[in-house]
Amino acid sequence: MADKYFVSAAPHFRKDESVGKIMGTVNAALAPAALISVYIFGWCSLGVLLVAILSAVITEALIQRCRRQPVTVSDGSAFMTGMLLAFNLPANAPLWLPAVGGVFAIAIGKQAFGGLGRNIFNPALAGRAFLMAAWPQRMTAFMRPFSVDAVTQATPLMLLKEGKASGLADMGLDYFDLFMGFRGGSLGEVCGLALVLGGVYLLWRRIISWHTPVSFILAAGAFGWIFGSPDGFFKGDFLFQILSGGLLLGAIFMATDYVTSPITNKGQLVFGTCCGLLTGVIRRWGGYPEGVCYAILIMNAAVPLIDRFVKPRRYGVTRQERNSGLARRAP
């Protein structure tokens, strides 16, 4: 009789969700883009993926062992960091590049801050930014799709930045090529179709909400449309801005990281919009052709601020009551 009467603290509503399950779903959502990269770039891309994942997982296990903490690599978060890091690298990168990047992403980007849930910056992007600053030539020598002898090819955004092309037609591409991934770019960013598939799966499973990705993509696209062309305002290419570079990858998989994005839906809209605007600014006027990585990293730093200002209304309190309550409490 006694063991049928449970007394426990709130919350009483339980779900069988766990870090491991969520990470597993995200990893599954990343799988199409990983597979398609092997199809587009060949086996070298598989090598980069494997080395990045192994490096991230081993680093996490070693550091947790050293810090005498429970080793939690089986929850798949280090696996995901490794995979996302590999997505940011050229497919034919020398294998030491993902290895070093994985170590940096986990050791400095994540464990130095205290591990999963405490990192300020997205670890995979921290690793990517480190590699970009350390070995810029290696990080920007992108492989031409379907080439056997590793011919390099500039990304559409690089061509645009260097002024070698002013539109898609100059590059010999169309929107279909951009969306399917038949263009120069990093391992995981090229195939928009696979990324969108993964994103839709995550939305369906309710792992992410639409707020961050949609506001991010729309803001970046709108900024590109308004300011993207040297000919004048409102002459930029909306679709090109969205489909080129790592915008889809960043908006769907990087900016939606639970740890480094705002909690509330409204906060996520602010976060995504600012990410998009920063991306546009860096693409248009910055030193690098692509700004998704830095935009997300900068906004990661602003997440505590956003969470502070964009608070949900307390249950059972009207807007006026809340406002007057705040006014009363103000000194």
Binding site: A112, A133, A134, P136
Partner: protein, 198 residues
């Protein structure tokens, strides 16, 4: 004699200005890109530190309390000017490499900090020992940081190219690399110390 030795050794070890007190970071971050600059900066700061500590200890009883900081600055600036002129005359290349950071020794926190915390309260000989120790501690810290940054960041040592089987990581020659290397070194040293004490 033992006291002098203790005053000297604490600057290198337990009260190292960079690794434990974390002062004087601006020149540390700026000139630790290679070991030649680090040695130049370390020696210049040590010279100023020893001389200013000695003079301040000598005149400490005559300096009115309310204007002590300007007095220290005047004394320190005198020796910095000496260093700057000597560098310009005998090591123009090093002077160019160190640039603005030689005149900036005037406002280096380590030197002002030692003047305020030690030389103004102690006699001449301990003050000299303290200045020498702090200067050597600064030099040692600069050497360690610049060794890591120069070998890994540009694949060189004292300006000589290493026969290298790896590609130097450019970031370590840049400002973020300085912060990374310094942070990791400080963290590592404190971790080792906590291991020893526990």
């Amino acid at each position: 004699m033992k006291r002098l030795w203790l005053e000297f050794i604490k600057g290198i070890g337990s009260e190292n200005p960079i690794f434990f007190v974390v002062l004087g970071l601006c020149p540390t971050l700026a000139v630790s890109t290679n070991m030649t600059n680090a040695i130049g900066m370390g020696l210049a700061a040590t010279f100023v530190l020893v001389c200013s500590n000695a003079i301040i200890a000598l005149v400490r009883l005559w300096i009115p309390d309310k204007i002590r900081i300007p007095c220290y600055i005047v004394i320190i600036a005198t020796f910095v000017s000496v260093v700057e002129m000597v560098l310009k005359a005998y090591a123009p290349a090093l002077d160019r490499a160190l640039g603005i950071f030689v005149p900036l020794i005037v406002v280096n926190c380590i030197i002002l900090g030692r003047a305020e915390a030690f030389a103004s309260k102690n006699p001449v000989l301990p003050s000299i020992a303290d200045g020498l120790g702090m200067g050597c501690g600064f030099l040692v810290a600069l050497l360690v940081i610049s060794f890591v940054r120069e070998t890994l960041g540009s694949g060189k040592l004292m300006g000589l190219t290493l026969s290298r089987p790896f590609e130097p990581a450019l970031i370590l020659s840049l400002a973020p690399g300085a912060l990374l290397v310094m942070g990791l070194l400080i963290g590592g040293i404190r971790w080792l110390r906590s291991l020893r004490s526990s």
